[in-house]
């Protein structure tokens, strides 16, 4: 759900404003009516994407009974009680676990994925395609098929309810996607730059560190953010492999779902709190993100 926050119109505006982009201007001049229609359509589509998240935020300020009215109520007496209940439920340890799982796994993904993608794009070998498919094939097995062996192995080596188990699994889960994304960004970098650096006598690692990475920064930021969102929102491994010590925020959220009472407002408040960190990260990184994502999109 958090992903729907990201492509906000502000992000799009910031992105198009960053580099001097003469290309769209002539198009705008072409037809007033067409341009207006496109703007309206953009707003309409944006609204469709953002509406569920906005409704969630609105619901989080309601009393439970207000959350269940038919027809749904837009005007009501707002309350912060639901947020108080979320904080009373000891939110901090879950937040800490989620931050740890997300940050460490994303760092590991970048440390392993950047050199891998670099090698596969700059120095392709005969089996490059096979290697790439091998990476992505690891995503083809549904996770539910491996959960029992994973649970039993984690239990035997005393790694159940341990945050490092999640760090390892999230790294493995995101690495294939990161390698594919990063490789497409590496391929965007003009070969001339690499060749010029090589002519100057730079080694391949040096080319990566001093030439490629600065150019690639938006792409890396976009990849990192995608990995962070996936790790942050991951529920299945977290609910099955953790208990009281290593549980993450999606597991915390489900604690508000009950089969014997009303819970929509409380769940909305928890979901709003849980979404905030990723929304903030997306907000801060929006410029890089839009540049990075459009970089990949060209390919």
């Amino acid at each position: 759900m958090t992903a729907t926050h990201l492509p906000s119109p502000k992000a799009a505006r910031a992105g198009s404003g960053a580099p001097p982009a003469p290309a769209p201007r002539p198009r705008r001049r072409r037809g007033g009516a067409g341009g207006l229609a496109l703007t309206l359509l953009t707003w309409a589509v944006t609204l469709v994407f953002v509406a569920p998240a906005l409704w969630m935020v609105l619901t989080s300020f309601k009393q439970e009974a207000d959350a269940y009215t038919d027809p749904p109520r837009i005007f009501f007496e707002p309350t912060l009680d639901r947020f108080r209940e979320v904080f009373a439920a000891d939110f901090a340890p879950y937040l800490g676990n989620s931050l740890m799982a997300t940050l460490f796994s994303t760092t590991l993904v970048l440390v392993l994925g950047v050199p891998a993608a670099y090698a596969l794009s700059v120095a392709p070998v005969r089996k490059t395609k096979d290697v790439l498919f091998f990476f992505i094939s690891t995503k083809m097995l549904p996770v539910v098929a491996v959960i029992v062996p994973l649970y039993v192995i984690a239990g035997r080596i005393k790694m159940l309810d341990n945050i490092w188990t999640l760090v390892i699994l999230y790294t493995a889960m995101n690495l294939p996607i990161a390698v594919w994304m990063l490789r497409s960004f590496f391929l965007e970098v003009p070969r001339g730059i690499v060749e010029a650096a090589r002519m100057e006598g730079a080694s391949l690692p040096r080319v990566l560190w001093s030439v490629m990475l600065p150019v690639m920064a938006p792409g890396i930021a976009a990849t990192a953010l995608i990995c962070m969102i996936f790790s942050w929102n991951e529920f299945f491994f977290a609910v099955n492999l953790t208990a009281s010590q290593a549980a993450t925020v999606p597991v915390f959220m489900t604690g508000f779902i009950t089969s014997e009472g009303l819970y929509w407002a409380q769940l909305s408040a928890a979901a709003t709190m849980v979404s905030l960190p990723i929304v903030i990260v997306g907000w801060i990184a929006q410029r890089q993100l839009v540049r990075g994502l459009s970089m990949g999109a060209v390919k």
Partner: protein
């Protein structure tokens, strides 16, 4: 890779390590140092208790400080999950000896089966050794449902049966009167009378959502009272018997004609919303409903309902029995400490504490006779305490059907295969409620599933 010093003055890279360091430090602080576990003052690991996220359990969490004050040196960590996730997680953990939990919340469905498998600690010695615990105060049907070979393997936190809630005001307006022991055919007539599309009030709300613990719970009680059963005494499937067919046809027709809109997707929660927002005239479901529908903060119909026993046809009673209880897995390293918590939360004093701290309408009912006899509880629960008590006290898990059957259980069949079997059959029934297939088709298909389960027991008996 050769280490190359980063180029100076690069605006992109410099803030990253600093930001990462700050964020990591923050994460470590919040999570209490790398998830290694908060070590309490006594130096012992905290007690890990897995519970289902129902309102009564949330109250237990809120009262945790009382327990810790009375039992210095024992810290409790709760793992709270919705019913389905909790059941799956607790079953996995207990069955594979994962050992994450010291205390688990289970029900009368699991207790005897798990005790037989040797997965649970026998609580009887602890009960007998605890002065003032008063196990005789547990409602006999509840105690029986949590026992295996005469010993209790889990102790009740709260129990529930099923009954019928109806809107007394709507009955009065329509000139109807609810009989003391209504039959299902009378209920169908009332539903037809009270069904009011214009006012947005359904005649009756009944579950239709797939799931062995959703549509199958009320439907199985209807089947029982129509004279049907899942299996006959020789483990032959009973799903295509005339009684089973009649019961399912009755249920499906009733909910399709006079039930709530979108009934095929309605579970307990959805019916709760319908009824508590005044969109249904009757509702047949778990007695636990009262804590929400009689609470003015979450219900627009508080104080307007009457309660009648579960409707019947051929049997004298048909309400189910479901008990949320606490057990100690056999893998628990220190059952003594675990018992201290279990004893605290299921003791008579705990019910007093909840009554005083949160109000008597919020106490977990249906476990102890003394709760029903407490004047302060009777005062707040006068509309429903008596029908609830009767329903629980008379729910007989051993003789729920008209004819003898080889299994126990009222709203379920207490065999391990039932979770899967019940869910598969419920999908067929739900499809029939949605109108995608007819009832005969649904039952023919369901009969295949039940037959294959029955055959495994027939082979065992040979």
């Amino acid at each position: 890779m050769r280490a190359v010093p980063p180029a100076t003055g690069d605006p992109v890279r410099r803030p990253l390590p600093a930001a990462l360091a700050v964020a990591t430090a923050g994460a470590l602080t919040l999570s209490g140092c790398a998830g290694a576990g908060a070590i309490n003052a006594g130096g012992e690991d905290p007690l890990v208790v897995a519970i289902v996220a129902n309102p009564q359990m949330q109250d237990a969490i809120a009262l945790q400080s009382h327990f810790e004050a009375e039992h210095p040196g024992i810290e409790v960590n709760f793992v709270t999950l919705p019913e389905n996730e909790a059941r799956a997680k607790i079953t996995t953990s207990v069955a594979t000896e994962g050992g994450e939990f010291d205390v688990v919340m289970i029900s009368n469905y699991e207790t005897a089966q798990w005790a037989e498998n040797g997965w649970l600690t026998n609580l009887q010695p602890h009960i007998d050794a605890t002065e003032g615990y008063d196990a005789d105060d547990f409602i006999p049907t509840v105690r029986e449902s949590l026992s295996y070979e005469g010993d209790m393997y889990s102790v009740p936190f709260y129990g529930e049966s099923s009954f019928l809630a109806y809107r007394e005001d709507l009955f009065r307006e329509a000139g109807l009167e609810m009989p003391e022991n209504p039959t299902w055919h009378q209920i169908a007539e009332f539903a037809a009378e009270l069904d009011d599309d214009e006012a947005g009030v359904a005649g009756i709300c009944l579950r239709g959502l797939p799931g062995w613990g959703e549509v199958m719970s009320p439907l199985t009680t209807v089947v029982n009272t129509f004279g049907g059963s899942w299996f006959d005494a020789e483990w032959n499937s009973g799903l295509t018997s005339p009684e089973y067919r009649e019961a399912v046809n009755f249920y499906v027709d009733l909910v399709r004609e006079h039930g709530q809109p979108g009934a095929a997707n309605s579970g307990y929660g959805d019916c709760l919303t319908h009824y508590s927002q005044g969109r249904a005239a009757m509702w047949y479901d778990a007695t636990a409903m009262v804590s929400t529908i009689e609470d003015p903060a979450s219900s627009t119909v508080a104080g307007l309902s009457g309660y009648a026993p579960a409707p019947v046809v051929q049997t004298d009673r048909s309400g189910w029995l479901y008990v949320w209880s606490l057990a100690i897995p056999a893998t628990t390293e220190d059952p003594e400490r675990a018992w201290e918590f279990v004893e605290w939360v299921t003791d008579r004093d705990y019910i007093e504490t909840v009554g005083e701290e949160f109000g008597w309408e919020r106490v977990p009912p249906g476990s102890r006779i003394s709760t029903f006899e407490n004047p302060r509880y009777q005062e707040v629960a006068q509309a429903y305490a008596q029908p609830m008590r009767e329903a629980i006290e008379t729910a007989d898990s051993d003789n729920a059907t008209l004819h003898p059957v080889p299994y126990e259980g009222i709203g379920f069949v207490a065999i391990p295969e039932f979770q899967d079997l019940g869910t598969r059959v419920s999908q067929q029934i739900s499809a029939a409620i949605a109108g995608r297939i007819d009832v005969d088709e649904a039952l023919e298909q369901s009969d295949d599933y039940a037959r294959s389960v029955g055959e495994t027991y027939q082979r065992e008996e040979q």
